[in-house]
Symmetry: C2
Subunit: 344 residues, 2 copies
């Protein structure tokens, strides 16, 4: 460097193939920058005689150490587990989380993103609202990218939108649940479905249908009834199923709540579980290990999703110019318990 | 008004015995100001020839319509119900909520409050972290008051701190639960307690003890065992209780999860519920109506607490000078179900 022009943060960034804000963070000992990178950048800065320009740095340095978490709801075990995973990784690094609940509403989601950006949060974890997803709205996400704020999809996501994501494979989880029922000898399997149109509903429904097809079992419309995910919404549908001329010998519930509602109705009818009827839920909420009988279910690794999403965020923050978005899909895990363990 | 000095917002505020920001909101059709007040203020402003001073107003008008909700956790049914109640009232008025989880940590609570204030939120709903409560820290709350930002306690609170609050009467809820067990003929009543020191634990424990005293029943240390609120934490304690030379004929659980864990152990031992052993939980989480047998429990009106807290916030926002803080205590409600309904 022979020029008399003073060395700037941009010069250093160019040298390390990273962003100016990474350099700024490294020089200011920001905890999100790994130690080697910090040391290398600081040594180089010293070597080339870099001098802080306090004025131009003031904006870059004004880090809020705040992250936004935008989710459709916090009423279920899975979402709180994801948030717990985010906390577990990010709080020790000095980050705080602003949790925003959209109630599946697009306008609210958009408003939250705008407000988070204007509060200069450093990253956003987003599970897209159903309305947003259905309508295919993108622009409010593009404003996040334009601000170079890392955006990580958790749970519900746009497949075609270019960003990192950590999601669970619901489809194969549902498939495995129904396959297990078939292997246990159940043949006439009903499905207590979620509300139509929700991604999570349709993925699990598809897993159910495809598995029945694979084993050449009949798909019967009268064995598929909607619920709203709540335990009480399973009561009337289950009664209807058990009143059929040919009632089901197993029920696959869209989630644990619904399967527990079905369990109650089956017991009130004097049915033995799993001998007379098999039951499977979804989510592996803590209670399912202690119902009587305990409930076979499909576990979604919520906490792990939160931790993986944190890692994706930190990677992007420290990214060099050849950074590529990552797509993490964690498997859902079948957990076999008493409610299906029919030994014939 | 004969003076040539132009009429200011402060003059109007004095006339209506309200704060300047209420006047500013009324003139700008802020939804939180009721219609009559808005109309009266606007008519008066027109009458006295008030002219907006754009510069001095710019700060006042820069409302964020954002509120902070600072809670120790979001993992239980009760907290999400409170937040749902806040959403139900405040979202239609155009407010968004920033939810912050302190994990019972004082430093984190303090940091969240500072960040929320620096983001110019318009009000804070707070359930004090256990650490804060135990140490009696106040200063971080006083900074909220100094900024004239409404602060509403929900759930856990400082009795002596001067602010509005909406809480549930846990003590009498627990008392009623134990009294009901006694009326059903149970005499040797155990308590699966929460972690020592937590307010919610100690209030329920006190209700249990005082009720036993009232009915001259023995208080036995071996019948009181700690849990951590989680379903799995009830398993070993319940086994220990049932292995006693004189086992309990009823168990009062600190929450529903713990009572459901106890239910599982009792069933595995072949005990009939409620004939051989009675069980009571706390919270009225949705699942309790559908366990087999259904669980007697104490309902906390979480959604209603959220709605009352919203009302307290709006009252304070529109307050005149003689504003007094309000203290709302909602009763907990005993819900009698199959797990205690022993008809002798």
């Amino acid at each position: 460097m022979t020029s008399a022009r003073p060395i700037t943060i941009k010069d250093i960034a160019k040298r390390f193939h990273c962003s100016p804000s990474t350099v700024s963070r490294a020089l200011n000992d920001h905890p999100a920058i790994n130690e080697d990178t910090r040391r290398n950048i600081k040594e180089y800065a010293l070597e080339v005689g870099y001098q802080k320009n306090e004025v131009s740095l003031s904006l870059l340095n004004k880090k809020t150490a705040t992250l936004g978490v935008v989710v459709p709801s916090i009423g279920h075990y899975y979402e709180t587990a994801v948030i717990e995973g985010l906390h577990a990784v990010l709080q020790p690094l000095g980050y705080t989380l602003n949790i925003c609940v959209t109630n599946e509403n697009y306008l609210l989601e958009k408003e939250y993103l705008t407000k988070l950006l204007s509060n200069r949060i450093e990253g956003i974890f987003l599970s897209v609202a159903q309305e947003t997803y259905d309508a295919g709205y993108y622009e409010h996400l593009e404003q996040v990218n334009q601000r170079h704020t890392p955006l990580i999809f958790i749970d519900r996501e746009y497949e075609t939108f270019e960003t990192s994501r950590a999601t669970v494979d619901d489809y194969h989880g549902a498939f495995a649940a129904v396959e297990h029922l078939i292997q246990m000898g159940y043949r006439h399997i009903a499905h207590l479905k979620g509300p139509n149109g929700l991604t999570v509903t349709e993925q699990r429904f598809k897993g159910y249908i495809d598995c029945l097809r694979k084993y050449n079992l009949d798909i019967s419309e009268e064995l598929i009834i909607n619920t709203n995910f709540k335990v009480e919404s399973a009561i009337v549908p289950t009664k209807r199923l058990l009143d059929l001329p040919l009632p089901p010998d197993a029920i696959f519930g869209v989630n644990d709540q619904v399967a527990i509602g079905a369990m109650r109705v089956a017991k009130d009818r004097g049915l033995r579980i799993p001998q007379d009827i098999g039951l499977v839920g979804f989510d592996n909420s803590p209670i399912t290990a202690y119902t009587y009988p305990s409930l076979t279910t499909v576990g979604r690794p919520g906490r792990k999703i939160g931790m993986e999403a944190s890692r994706l965020f930190l990677n992007q923050l420290n990214a060099s110019e050849d950074f590529r978005h990552e797509n993490i899909v964690l498997p859902a895990e079948l957990i076999i318990r008493e409610s299906t363990l029919r030994l014939s």
